[in-house]
Homo-oligomer: 306 residues x 2
């Protein structure tokens, strides 16, 4: 099975309003709720790809209970660790006319030292059953900033390939523990390395500890620097749509193809096809299955010189 870790899970709430105007009152036309946090999104896509998937991390309070209720009928297995604090909400305010989204993210519950220990105790046996693990998203308050470095080290000790998808200081610290793969976007890479030149920045990120770096360059696709070679992968044509969840789909594609033992060009083909099919789907975070199958044959993968 594939394990995804979401320490800062979220109840993702979407509000549709005609247009968000600061300092005005808005009547929300439509409210939707779903269990969220990057690792949960990744797990849903992995399940859709036919992989058995277990989600862990923290869930607590009234919002946590609601999230688990919404998660129960879905395919990923719930191995979330209960905490006292309230799981956070995120609010995506979508302008109906344009589809533009304004995001409001609560910080998340305060995690105690005992709760962090309880998570580590739950993580170890899950790792032993995992074919790969993804560590996803922000850290809630109270979790040590070096948490991901610790989780990467434990995965490597258990001989489980580990993908780290986070940003800022948790990414910087996590890199030092030498994860198998990171998947930063251009902004995260620039913040990490100080360079906005993707190839240079990705090389720098590898030097900082990642065995492989797959940088997502938005509509231009992916850039991968790996021990086996360097590639750029791009969709056959630019697409318009909602990029929410495209990064999580890329992570799901990279994890599933890693577990299936595919060569890098095929992994990148799947990642670009799946994230592009996610942009094309009408519902944020889902993907268009037909478009995915078509895109798989259309993605251009180009080997770059070292």
């Amino acid at each position: 099975m594939i394990l995804t870790v979401t320490l800062n899970t979220a109840l993702d709430i979407t509000y549709r309003v005609p247009a968000l105007v600061p300092h005005a009152a808005h009547r929300v036309e439509q409210v939707t709720e779903r269990p969220g946090g990057k690792g949960l999104n990744v797990a849903r896509v992995l399940a859709a790809l036919g992989h058995r998937c277990v989600v862990t991390g923290f869930a607590g309070g009234r919002t946590g209970a609601h999230l688990r209720e919404l998660l129960a009928p879905l395919a990923p297995v719930d191995a979330l660790v209960p905490v006292c604090g309230d799981t956070r909400r995120t609010i995506a305010v979508v302008d109906t006319a344009t589809g533009d989204t304004t995001q409001l993210n609560e910080p998340g519950p305060q995690i105690t030292a005992a709760e962090w220990e309880a998570f580590l105790a739950a993580y170890e046996p899950l790792l032993r059953e995992a074919d790969a693990v993804a560590l996803c998203g922000s850290l809630p308050p109270g979790v040590p900033v070096g948490a991901y470095a610790d989780l990467v080290r434990r995965a490597r000790a258990a001989d489980v390939p580990v993908l780290l998808d986070t940003s800022g200081e948790p990414l910087r610290r996590g890199l030092a523990a030498r994860p198998d793969l990171i998947k930063p976007n251009a902004d995260e890479l620039a913040r990490l390395t100080g360079s906005r030149e993707p190839l240079r920045a990705a090389r720098d990120a590898r030097r900082r500890g990642a065995h492989s770096v797959v940088a997502s360059l938005g509509p231009e696709g992916l850039l991968a620097i790996t021990p086996d070679g360097t590639w750029q992968a791009a969709p056959p044509a630019p697409v318009r749509g909602n990029p929410t969840g495209a990064g999580d789909s890329a992570v799901a594609a990279l994890l599933s193809s890693l577990v299936e033992g595919l060569p890098w060009p095929d992994r990148l083909r799947r990642a670009v096809a799946l994230s592009t099919a996610t942009v094309l789907a009408p519902v944020a975070g889902e993907y268009d299955g037909e478009a995915y199958e078509e895109l798989l044959t259309g993605v251009r993968v180009t080997a770059l010189g070292d």
Copy 2:
């Protein structure tokens, strides 16, 4: 006791962010939650003024349960009627720098015909114990648009003075049932009557059925047209602050002074002092007790000719 009716109660959530920027992502710095809806706010102020108060209306689902938990330790007595649907949330996004607020209001739960009947069955015995009743705020989906007209008629049949504080079509319909008092602001009055001239519009609203009209004119205070005379009441000086809840405080002042049998000039003095003290309070919806006492002697009440 004083009864307040809030058919569309709400869990009022406040998010503090540095500044709301459309189509950007925001990390919420502070989250606060309180039981809300106009009638609940009015009841809290009435309790602070020393009046026994009962709140009714609808509460349901996960949000309704949370609202009732937050309400339990407060003074107003909970006589809310349970419904299947989820009580709505409202989100007030406050820019920390300026205090400006962006409001997102969910529509509220769908109320069934049986639930509306259950409310009417609960309302009658509550009315029999009430010295006055306030009907407050918007109607949730499913409640007949003439609901307030029905509730006004029942209050009048039970000989209980009734204040109606709503807007739009529910106000227009409710007026026809001849409530004792309405408290529109300038915008609501203009929408009702087509006139932006407050004296003319308030007289028109009286002709449409209200025995008395107290129009709130923001920083300029109140204009009252009553069977006993016409008055304008204004604070001693303009104040700066957060006007959220000022209207609910005015309603609480008008209800309490009506029940105490005060003459109109004293009712208006209390309403202006209390709403001004609400603008001055650091927390939205609360009032500054010292400022209230001081303002009571400073409010200018002027009799106008008919």
